[in-house]
Structure formats: structure tokens, C-alpha cells
């Protein structure tokens, strides 16, 4: 009598892909298959070269307007998206919504409608609520592409893809890898997206390591991970270690007694690192709390690839943005609208 609701991956796929399977929005890695994730990584390789040019710009998004809608302030993430958009030759609007519209009682939909009236082509959204990017993509005009720059505790797909890019660059691929993610999985949108990406790309095992207070309910079934509460056991033989940032609020929220005890049990030290595979790489989405998540000697050590992650992030974001703009151009043509003249004369 009541049909089963389509699963989250199925619904996410329907929202993000057009009828031909082209990427329309980039909200989550749920529902995207291995071929598409590999395609994003391959395209990102191509964009690495742009940094070598004297003029570090390509004209793929000329005449397009990309709005950075940040409902939650994050200078670092906003800057990388802004730079990626500018390297694609798009015009960029930066909007800090938390301080303007919503304070005056304007709803999120009102804000969207206003920006659509300015002919914005793409929204890059950062929001404190899980599902905000889904909501915006569902309600945005069909000509607008939406990219999730992090929503609540749900997803941060570009961050996860740049981590995948870094892993592939070092390991050549994903088959057979064991990856450990350490820290606050419960509140981490980065971890959720990384786990989905790693499982889709076919690693052998994803482990999550942390105290029970920071591991979400039914993590094993819900996310497809193996749960460890003992750092030493969890690190044994792993090829990749991903550390998550520990927010100070976790102490006041009663999730942890102190940073000191956390470091004592879950902080990454040289000695603990030696339990992992000899060619292990250490990753962190930044910014690092030295002496809480890891020792400085590990952060700056030879196994650390933390700084590479930053430069790869630009190429991955350019790849994803250009793919969504490309799908949008196809849609605009199919809808009988003329593509912007500026782009056609390139």
C-alpha cells in the first residue's frame, strides 16, 4: 500500500545527475558511481597544469556568475572556491549570509530567488544545517547548479574528492588499501564524504577510530566501516591515515573529558605511526591542532601530505565546477536558450 521510499543514494543520484548521467549539482557523494568519481579525479589531473601557466586562467566559465553563499563563515574554504572559480574565468560574488539577510528575517528561499534574479549560474553553498545543499538544489531554478561546500554534519564532497586525489597520487589507485579515519566521526561531514568515496572507489577496508562518544550510531551498517576504539589496533597495517579536526566544543559538550586525554589515547605520534604500513601517508583537512590530533613531528614529517592537499583542492574544485557548468550549458541549449555570447566567441 505504501511504496518503499527510494534510498538516500538513489534520491541523491536523481537530484545530482541529468538524464544522461552528467553531473548537474555536486551535493554529496551518495549515489555517484565509481566511474563518475574516477572521471572527476582524471579531470582534476588536467587542471593541475593551469597552475603552471603564466596567466593562471582558462576560459571555461567565461561569462558565468558563481555566487559563494556562505551561511557559515569559513575563509579558507571560501578562498579556494573563489580562486577555482576565478581560474575558470567566472565572475565571483561572495555573500556572507549569516550577517545580512537571515538577520532581517529573510528566508533562505527569498535569498535564493533574489540571487537567481541576478542571473547567477552557480551557487557554492556552505551551511551549518545537514541537508541544506539538498534543499537549495531542490528549490533552485533549473538553470542553476549547486555545489556543496559543506553542510552541517552531512557532506563535504569536494574536500573528500581532493583527499581521494591525494591518495591516488601516492598509492596509484584504491584497490587493496586500508584507510583509517581518526577522531570525531560523529560530527564530521568530511568523514562521511570520505567514507562514501573510499567505499565507492573500492578500497579494501575503511576503519574509523575514536572513543564511542564520537562514533555515530550503527556506524558499521550505516556507513560501511569497521569501528576501532583502540588506536594501536586500528592503525596496524593501514596504508592511509586521515586525521579529523577536533573542535573545542566537544569538551564543553561532554563528548570528551579533555584534549590532554584525547591526545594521550588518540593523538598520532611517531611511535604509533610505526604500526602502520611503512609507506603510509598521513592526511588532515586542516587546520591542525598540534599536540591534540597529532605531534608536530608527524604533521611536518616525511609521511605527511597535508600541504599537497591544499594545492590539489584547487584542481578538484575546478574540475567539479566546470563539469556542472558544462552540464548546465547543455541544458541551456536543450531548453532553447542561447548560451552566453561571451562564452561562444572564445
Amino acid at each position: 500500500m505504501i511504496p518503499n521510499s527510494p534510498s538516500q543514494p538513489a534520491q541523491a543520484a536523481a537530484l545530482q545527475l541529468d538524464a544522461d548521467g552528467n553531473l548537474k549539482h555536486f551535493l554529496t557523494l551518495d549515489g555517484l558511481d565509481r566511474a563518475l568519481l574516477t572521471d572527476i579525479l582524471d579531470r582534476a589531473e588536467g587542471f593541475l597544469g593551469v597552475a603552471q601557466q603564466a596567466v593562471k586562467k582558462v576560459p571555461l566559465c567565461r561569462g558565468k556568475i558563481i555566487a559563494n553563499l556562505f551561511f557559515e563563515t569559513s575563509t579558507r574554504t571560501r578562498t579556494t572556491f573563489e580562486l577555482a572559480a576565478k581560474r575558470l574565468s567566472a565572475d565571483v560574488l561572495n555573500l556572507n549570509i549569516s550577517t545580512s539577510a537571515t538577520a532581517k528575517g529573510e528566508t533562505l528561499l527569498d535569498t535564493l530567488r533574489n540571487l537567481e534574479a541576478m542571473h547567477v549560474d552557480m551557487f557554492v553553498v556552505r551551511h551549518a544545517d545537514s541537508g541544506a545543499a539538498h534543499f537549495i538544489a531542490t528549490h533552485a531554478a533549473p538553470s542553476v547548479a549547486v555545489i556543496n561546500a559543506g553542510d552541517g554534519c552531512y557532506a563535504h564532497p569536494t574536500q573528500a574528492m581532493l583527499d581521494m586525489f591525494t591518495i591516488r597520487a601516492h598509492k596509484g589507485g584504491f584497490a587493496g588499501l586500508t584507510v583509517a579515519i581518526i577522531g570525531d566521526i560523529l560530527h564530521s561531514r568530511v568523514a562521511r564524504s570520505q567514507i562514501t568515496a573510499l567505499n565507492t572507489l573500492g578500497v579494501a577496508e575503511v576503519r574509523v577510530i575514536g572513543p564511542s562518544t564520537l562514533i555515530p550510531a550503527r556506524a558499521q551498517q550505516a556507513l560501511g566501516v569497521r569501528v576501532f576504539h583502540d588506536l594501536r589496533a586500528g592503525l596496524r597495517g593501514v596504508d592511509v591515515i586521515i586525521l579529523l579536526r577536533l573542535q573545542h566544543e566537544r569538551m564543553t559538550g561532554g563528548f570528551l573529558p579533555s584534549e590532554h586525554e584525547y591526545f594521550h589515547l588518540f593523538g598520532l605520534t611517531e611511535k604509533r605511526l610505526s604500526l602502520a604500513a611503512p609507506d603510509v601517508i598521513v592526511m588532515h583537512p586542516g587546520p591542525i591542532n598540534r599536540g591534540v590530533e597529532m605531534d608536530s613531528s608527524v604533521a611536518d614529517g616525511e609521511r605527511s601530505v597535508i600541504l599537497e592537499q591544499v594545492s590539489n583542492g584547487l584542481a578538484v574544485r575546478m574540475a567539479v565546477m566546470s563539469m556542472c557548468i558544462s552540464t548546465q550549458n547543455l541544458w541551456l541549449r536543450a531548453a532553447g536558450e542561447t548560451a552566453p555570447a561571451e562564452a561562444a566567441d572564445a
Partner: protein
């Protein structure tokens, strides 16, 4: 109210669960009361004859929880709009929770709601009185006065009373006046900040969870207080299998406790949240398939005796936001009967027992002489077509609230006529 005409409902399958009656016969109504079953009384001259061939004739449904949003939230719905929807759903008596604005903590608000309903005359509205003033969980309300103003039960709506001592006093005070107390079992600390069932979907969607233990603790605490005080306690809306087991244990010791479940909890699970579906955000939250099956088993075993709609209509904007900022609750009056009939098709209950869960059993919990077809009883009657199919949508719903995760689902079973105190308040052919 105008004088009620004499009506004969002929040839229907008349089911009166209170009397164990299930036979094809005629039902006669006069002066707002049941005048006779079978052959008409002497000198009976019907002014209207309803042909119920192929239809089921049962008592008007009794719903233990339906929010009407008036006073205070008229942009969502009104007593007029929702009692009209209730009539279309076959519901003739409904109890509304006290969380209006202002709450039902004074006789004036209770009287206002009853008066608004009486002016419309679509259904009998019984406002639950606030257990504590302003529903603040600190100061007990003037329950005796509220009872006089027509409140059949006391309730703190879905706000748990944090202070156990206050709850104890409130239960004792309510029992002094023979009032049953409706409790939403939830540990305030564990449920605070939670949006959905803490489980697989919460983890996948990165949403804060309401653990099963929140309800289990609530039931445990409330049962202990019920036993301590001897007060009559009714659990308003169970959602976990574990809580039903505790309920069954308490009832086996003959504690005066009862419980209901919202009809949709017997069908939907946390899976309905996929895609951040805000229409599936409910309190208590939709839980696992195992919980749903346990709730069904508890209904089948007669531990949970009533099924209600837990109707919570919203204006469209209330759900048009990122998931965590949306309002919980679904519009549910009109899906109550078909969802209960679905349990019959799936073999959970037979038709007579299923109808008991939405007629005489909830009437007993409210301690009101409704939900039955005995001669002399008030003539609240629902006539429905058990095979009629319809699809839930904007074009089929009467309620102002269109917020339902069942949108697009095909329902089987639809009301044809509703008679409230002998008056035809809904006629599907006239819509």
C-alpha cells in the same frame, strides 16, 4: 444546532466493536441518537435514506490526538478547517493537545476551542487540559477548573516534564479529580536537540538523533510514578518496541496504564527520511522496521488499544527550509482510516478489532460515551467504502495541512458519509 432529521442507513455491513456486532442490517437515527438497528422502530419515518449496500457502517471515529492550531497558529489551520477535514475522514470526536497559543491552561481557552467547534458543528472537539501552567513543567495547572470546562484529560503535549517531583504531584492531583493524564514518554535530556531516530539514517544524513533510550527511560519513569501514585496514565504515541514490552509488563500487573500509537508509526520507518524529506520529520520520530513490527504486534496483542492520527497540519513554509529548521509533524486526519484498514488487509487485526482501536477504545480512554452504536447512544456514524482507492495529494486532502510523507501513496478505503449527532456532516457525493 438544528434539529436532527430521522435517517435510515440501509443495507450496510454494520460493525459496532463495543457490542461485538458485525452484520448486514439497517441503522436508524432520530433526534441525534441511535433509534434502532434492524427493523425500524414503530412509527419511524425517515426523512433521508442512505443506501449503504457494499459499505461498512461503524461508529464515528474517535481520535486521541489532532492539532487544530487554534488559537494562536491560524496561519497553519483553524478549528473550522480541521473539523471539516475530520468529518471527511469519518472522525466525529477528537482530542486536541493543549499546546495552542496560549495553551489550554485556563478554562477560557478550553471554552473558546469548544465554542469554535460547536459553531461549526462538524465534529466534537475535546481539548486536553495543560498538566502544568504554560506547559512549563514547573507549576501544576487548575485541573479541576479545566475538567469543568470540558477537558476530559490532562496533558503536557509533547513537552516532557523534566522535574520528576512536579510530575508526581501533577499525576496525584489529576487523579484526585479522576482525570487521566496523557504523557509523551521522553527523557528530556536524551531527546533534547534530536531531530530523527538515532540510527542508520541519522548516521547517514548527519542529523542529531533521538535515541530509543529516551522513550524507554520516559516510559520507565512514568510507569514508576503511575505505580507510586495510582494515577491513570496514558502513553500518547509510543514509537519503540522496547517501550511496548514495558507497557505489556505493567499491564500484566494490572497497573491502570494504556497507550496509543499514531497510525503512520505502524507503516513508516526512518527510511522515509531519505533525501532529507522534511515531511517525515515527526515527534516521536519514525524508527526502525523492527520497532514498527513490534508496535504492530502490540496492537494485535491488545497492549496498545488505540490508534490515533497525531494530526499536525503546517503551512507550506514550515517545511520549506533546510531539514533541521523545519517543524515536526504530519497532516494525518484523512489517512487514519485507510492506514488502519490496511492493517486488516495485512492480517494484523480483524476488521472489528481494527475499528475498535479508532472508536470504542479511544472513547474509553477519554471516558466519553461515544464510539458505539447502541440504541440511545449519540448518533455519530461513519459510512465508508472499504475498497475505494484514492491517492493522497493536494486535490484529495481537505485539511489545510498538506504536509504528509504519504503524498502520492494510494490508499484503500474512503469515507462516504459522516453523521455527527445525527446530522450528515460529510457526504462524498456532495463534494
Amino acid at each position: 444546532m438544528p434539529d436532527s432529521p430521522a435517517v435510515s442507513i440501509r443495507g450496510g455491513r454494520v460493525i459496532d466493536p463495543a457490542a461485538g456486532l458485525d452484520e448486514v442490517t439497517d441503522l436508524h437515527l432520530a433526534d441525534g441518537a441511535i433509534a434502532g438497528l434492524g427493523p425500524p422502530p414503530a412509527d419511524f419515518e425517515p426523512q433521508r435514506i442512505i443506501d449503504a449496500t457494499g459499505l461498512v457502517v461503524c461508529p464515528g471515529l474517535v481520535d486521541l490526538s489532532a492539532r487544530l492550531r487554534q488559537p494562536g497558529c491560524e496561519h497553519k489551520a483553524t478549528v473550522a478547517s480541521e473539523t471539516r477535514a475530520a468529518a471527511a475522514a469519518g472522525i466525529t470526536t477528537l482530542c486536541c493537545p493543549p499546546d495552542t497559543l496560549p495553551p489550554v491552561d485556563t478554562p477560557a481557552v478550553a471554552q473558546l476551542i469548544r465554542q469554535l467547534a460547536e459553531e461549526r458543528g462538524h465534529a466534537r472537539v475535546l481539548p486536553a487540559g495543560a498538566l502544568t501552567r504554560g506547559l512549563d513543567g514547573e507549576q501544576i495547572s487548575e485541573m479541576a477548573a479545566l475538567k469543568l470546562a470540558g477537558c476530559p484529560v490532562m496533558s503536557n503535549a509533547d513537552r516532557p516534564v523534566r522535574d520528576t517531583r512536579v510530575l508526581r504531584r501533577a499525576l496525584e492531583y489529576a487523579s484526585t479529580y479522576g482525570l487521566c493524564t496523557f504523557l509523551h514518554p521522553a527523557d528530556a535530556y536524551l531527546s533534547e536537540g534530536g531531530l530523527v531516530h538515532e540510527g542508520r539514517m541519522a548516521t547517514q544524513l548527519g542529523l542529531p538523533g533521538i535515541p530509543e533510550a529516551a522513550e524507554v527511560l520516559g516510559v520507565a519513569r512514568d510507569l514508576a510514578l503511575a505505580e507510586q501514585t495510582g494515577a491513570r496514565v496514558h502513553f500518547r504515541g509510543l514509537s519503540t518496541g522496547r517501550a511496548t514490552a514495558m507497557l505489556a509488563e505493567a499491564r500484566s500487573r494490572r497497573l491502570p496504564v494504556s497507550a496509543d500509537v499514531a497510525a503512520h508509526q505502524l507503516w513508516l520507518t526512518e527510511d522515509a527520511l531519505a533525501g532529507f524529506n522534511a515531511d517525515a520529520r515527526l515527534i516521536p520520530p519514525l524508527r526502525t522496521a523492527a520497532d514498527r513490527d513490534a508496535l504492530r504486534a502490540a496492537v494485535a496483542a491488545g497492549e496498545i488499544t488505540a490508534i490515533c492520527s497525531d494530526h499536525q497540519p503546517h503551512e507550506p513554509d514550515a517545511k520549506l527550509n533546510p531539514f533541521p529548521q523545519t517543524a515536526p509533524g504530519m497532516s494525518a486526519l484523512e489517512t487514519l482510516l485507510p492506514l488502519v484498514l490496511g492493517l486488516v488487509r495485512e492480517g494484523v487485526l480483524d476488521l472489528c478489532d481494527a475499528l475498535a482501536c479508532i472508536t470504542c477504545h479511544p472513547a474509553a480512554i477519554l471516558d466519553r460515551p461515544v464510539g458505539r452504536l447502541q440504541v440511545g447512544a449519540v448518533a455519530d456514524v461513519c459510512v465508508f467504502d472499504p475498497e475505494a482507492r484514492w491517492v493522497v495529494g493536494d486535490d484529495t486532502l481537505v485539511s489545510r495541512g498538506r504536509n504528509t510523507p504519504l503524498r502520492g501513496a494510494e490508499m484503500t478505503g474512503r469515507v462516504r458519509f459522516t453523521l455527527f449527532a445525527g446530522q450528515v456532516v460529510f457526504d462524498a457525493a456532495a463534494v
